[in-house]
Point group: C2
Chain length 333, copies 2
């Protein structure tokens, strides 16, 4: 069976371009005992994947050049030689960017797409949802009346983080990159206010205006100048949830900015950088909470779906241009 | 009774100079019922006082221009109209820079200078000791075998923080500003190694050489380039105790430096800025531990004593030139 893959052609320097990826044809062997043949339905593209494309040592193992990119994928079992999965089952797992692939069930989780739409299993009910959950519940720890500020608020993690803070009774302001996203955050996801950072020249003051009591919890997905402005508004004994730094991932040299430590010191700020796997022993607890909130309607979700396997590189690159509303996905042909 | 005071003549811009201080003569009234007359023995000068000299809002109330500077002081009761204190008692409190002053006992704590030398009550057994205790025990939390790195290691807080880490079984490296201080840290205070940052052009690499397993706990008193080099050596899930930023206190504008957040993120670092008063409900616990360690010899202490009331401004300014070995004090005439 001939399939198509997308491999890492070269490690990106700066913003990735389509040249860093290469489609390849490959012949897939027949599956053997204990294996299943999968046809992907939805591929997840996520900012953390940029780190894996570099050779720099990080928490996630790097992708290898000339090998397919790996990422979160929802797939359908089209042939099974395992007692654990049957033809027609839907599963989620970390799979290669390929039109079909062979896996063993132990690397897969069966999902029920009658219960929730398939894309949820790559977003609110998987890594982005878990990231938002632990970042907000364990590091942010909002209580009723707290002021919460979220950068990258319209992304896959941001919209969940904001809604969790609302569930906990906080007042939530989102920072995002367009008026339309601001409207979405307020009208669709219940944010109390939203700031389009591209439409202001004085972000620090605009945050101060939207958060008149100062910021008790800053949930950062972005870094850079947005974060400099946020830090200036932090309250005494506030929490800084260091979840992402998407503005920095394509830097070719370490960026410079104002020293933040003197502010973090005088305001007794607690900052915690984290990745979701730090909390892996508590995924069941989080999944149960997230599933409950989604089921009862208190946690909504959305995604931007790009059609076509060949558009995977373009969808990934689009993450850095703020192309996505909520989770960014690619739907297989 | 005529006394002398030192008042804040003007708010310093940049490094304080003697012009920012002014001696003044004043007539002290007779003490009335409930008051005591105090003669200071030792004045404490501390880096945090720089912040109180500015008009910028901070955790500590600012000093007023034309009013005496206030600071930690050990004094002797030379006259008492209070049943709570007797002539000859030694006390510690926050007192004006004055050759004599009148106070009420409720603002003072009686001390026993037969038990410990008077300077200890301004250092290891007061704010600097408590700061080191909570910073190391609550934020750093060293366990046996952890690698601990301390900047400003030869200062009043640093030498205590390092010894507490040693008591907990950690491997401790200090960063300081002279070979003599390095020797003191190793020979007198049991640090495993010490780095003279002024004698190296590649501090990051020197830290890596002294801390071959990376840094599990960075206890920062200094900030700036020293901290940039330290952060580059932080381990996954390490702790950053943000205690002081003495290199930044005299800045006339916000300094810039490399963005540290991307590193703190990918290494899942927890950073906590704090001031000792955040832990005020646990001072008794800490004092009991510190007193025990000092008594049994596992916690040593030292100070640099400048003689003469009129040298108070000079001693304070000297903090920013690394003039002090351990606690900086001024002994009254």
């Amino acid at each position: 069976m001939e399939i198509q893959e997308i491999v890492l052609a070269s490690r990106p320097v700066g913003l990735p371009s389509s040249d860093n990826f290469r489609p390849e044809r490959k012949v897939l062997e027949k599956i053997t005992e204990g294996e299943v043949l999968l046809k992907p339905l939805y591929f997840s593209v996520d900012p953390y994947m940029r780190g894996r494309m570099s050779s720099v040592k990080s928490y996630a193992a790097g992708y290898e050049v000339d090998k397919p990119i790996l990422g979160g994928t929802v797939a359908k079992v089209i042939e099974s030689k395992s007692p654990d999965l049957s033809e027609g089952d839907s599963v989620v797992g970390t799979l290669p960017w390929a039109t079909c692939c062979i896996e063993r069930p132990k690397n897969l989780k069966k999902i029920n797409t009658d219960l929730f739409p398939a894309p949820y299993y790559l977003g609110v009910l998987r890594m982005p949802g878990l990231t938002a959950y632990f970042g907000m519940m364990d590091i942010g720890r909002p209580v009723k009346g707290d002021t919460v500020l979220i950068s990258g608020a319209a992304g896959a993690v941001g919209i969940v983080a904001g809604q969790i803070a609302k569930i906990r009774g906080a007042i939530v302001t989102g920072i995002t990159g367009s008026d339309e996203k601001c409207r979405m955050l307020r009208e669709q996801f219940g944010f109390d206010s939203a700031i389009n950072y591209k439409a202001t020249k004085a972000l620090r003051k605009e945050i101060a205006a939207e958060c008149p009591k100062g910021v008790d919890i800053y949930f950062d997905n972005v870094g850079g100048e947005i974060t400099d402005a946020a830090v200036a508004n932090l309250n005494f004994r506030s929490r800084f949830v260091l979840c992402g730094q998407i503005s920095q991932y394509n830097n070719t040299r370490i960026s410079t900015g104002p020293a933040l430590l003197p502010v973090l010191l005088t305001r007794s700020v607690t900052l915690q950088g984290f990745i979701v796997s730090n909390f892996s022993d508590r995924f069941d607890e989080a999944m149960s909470e997230l599933t409950g909130w989604v089921s009862n309607g208190s946690l909504k979700y959305t995604e931007t779906v790009i059609e076509g396997f060949n558009n995977l590189p373009q969808a990934f690159i689009g993450l850095f241009n703020g192309m996505n509303y909520g989770k960014m996905l690619v739907k297989a042909d």
